[in-house]
Symmetry: C2
Subunit: 360 residues, 2 copies
Amino acid sequence: MQGGTFLFQLRYFCMNNRQNKFQMKRGVTLKDIAQKLNMSVSTVSKSLSNDPSISPPTKARVKKLADEWNYIPNEAARHFKLNRTYTIGLIIPNLMDQYYALAINGAEKVAGQHQYNVIISQSHEDPEREDKIVDLMLRNRVDGLLVAISKNREDMSVFKKTTYTGIPVIFFARPPKEDGFDAVISDNEHGAFKATEFLIKKGHKRIGHIMGPESMSVSYTRMEGYRRALDKYKLPYNSALVKSVDFTQEATFSAMRRFMKMVTPPTAFFAFKNYIALDAIEYLKRKHPAMLRKIDFAGFGNLPLLQYLDHKPVASIEESSYEMGEEAARLLLRTIHEEAPEEGRPVQHIQISCRLLAHK
Amino acid sequence: MQGGTFLFQLRYFCMNNRQNKFQMKRGVTLKDIAQKLNMSVSTVSKSLSNDPSISPPTKARVKKLADEWNYIPNEAARHFKLNRTYTIGLIIPNLMDQYYALAINGAEKVAGQHQYNVIISQSHEDPEREDKIVDLMLRNRVDGLLVAISKNREDMSVFKKTTYTGIPVIFFARPPKEDGFDAVISDNEHGAFKATEFLIKKGHKRIGHIMGPESMSVSYTRMEGYRRALDKYKLPYNSALVKSVDFTQEATFSAMRRFMKMVTPPTAFFAFKNYIALDAIEYLKRKHPAMLRKIDFAGFGNLPLLQYLDHKPVASIEESSYEMGEEAARLLLRTIHEEAPEEGRPVQHIQISCRLLAHK
DNA sequence: TTGTACGCGTTATCAA
DNA sequence: TTGATAACGCGTACAA
């Protein structure tokens, strides 16, 4: 059924010539097959789904023609009837961040295992854009939403609305500040603790923290871990050693400038994430090359690109974002398949533990 | 219309209590609104689409209730009727490659501008998996396909079938070996020429080429550019200086091992792409640290991560993958909206020119 | 063993 | 100005 079939296909399409491109036939339907074979649509439908009530010869005829005509079942129609699209929407800040790319892989895997499609969209850290994406996805009737919210998100009403409408939303990586939402997150506090502890054990007494944006709750959680580590090892906490950045290179440069201007700058930094640490290292390269080898960094995110770097963090907190994507998707599917989502259900939280990874 | 509305929503959902979770109502419909207001569905539909034949008071009543009940139009149903899903499928080898991540951004932008959704899937360089993805996407009736084929793809029949069925396919970045397919690609030969020329002008006389997989046509195109540059500058072409790899680190290491074993190893390399150059540099770091500063690399792909590297290629060929994604999506949408796709149409090719980018 | 009828949410057409 | 009806592709309960 190679070339010949294709030509036949072409003829077939030419036959039902509809002028309007928007009404153009886009694929063979059960009806087409039924007409050709002089039988009813339901017989064709049953034949193709191997219904035992259909006689083998009939089945054979149907399957033969379906094959020749290259029939492809229309899942959209099937789902339409079921009132579900078997599609989940995935909203992330940025595809270029390998962390999210990995999480997507995990989510896609789980979704695929359950015959779900995934549609991905990026907020580019813009809450307004995020709102539009949610709206678009709801219009397209995704069965659920997987969201790593943009860093400046304040108003959670869109997501509340979504949940109340019966479309479950699972947050991952970046939980909302507000309580009451299902979420899958890393064990951020413990990870931060371990990273800081690693630096302390390496002998550092004065450790700075390049904190994440103040608009994100994770920033505080990680800061708390940093603080707990200092406490445990009887090091003083000094708020001057904590500076918040917004992920832009400029912000990190500016923070580093202020750090390095101090009378006694920190000898090590725990960074909210390693993309930030890389910018901080870049700053040292440009402005304080002599310090490069004296200052240690540790941060979240064991990025594949780290392997190529000469100057890199001494330790990373491996966040298992692939696993997080998997877990988030699993939780979402579970929620989707739950009975009676109207009933009150406890908020679900899943924590993925982090691993400390010393480099070199 | 905050909290109160939501509660109402809840009650609303509880009222039509259907046991079966698969038949559960998932959102307010036109019918619901029509029933409540004692009018026909068509009136409601027209009111919401601002049909001039509906009286302003009626429109107002409808819109008010639609708002209160938080009506969200069901695009799936709408598309179902129109026989199109306003969704395009995007198949790439790997999301972790920033090159594709950027291309996706470009494609998404253009698709979004035309109210199209994008569903993304990764082949992970596995043709079989790619086949399954195509099948799945066709079952879901995407309106068109954007594909960067996996490196080992030999049999193009799936895509032929797709095209003949009336679903346009645009290839990008990696065109098929076979002719006859629409594609958007970089000006690979010229890019390769410029990269090699750059190395020559830097004084190198013995330039190796770490070639891409032999299964990919682009590999030959880039090799041709390399060869043309040698020719132009009267340097001898030596097939021993060309070694093909398959993107794995092991393959690149092995190629470099053979290169460095030569009596006079190359003093510079033109790499099929910079991810390969990075592995080659990594090899030198481990095995020939002394040579690190003496050997130059140039390759395709100006990756954002390059900025953080100490040892990096001296030049990159900027492929404008964002632009390529845009162009590919544009071409696809144009093809989708074409009248009479049955008619013979010349194969469409778009070339994106590359820019040489010297680093540091 | 096969066919008929219906419904999913929406829009377009035609009738009232 | 509004309403009734058909249609999109499919599955299924029920009738023949």
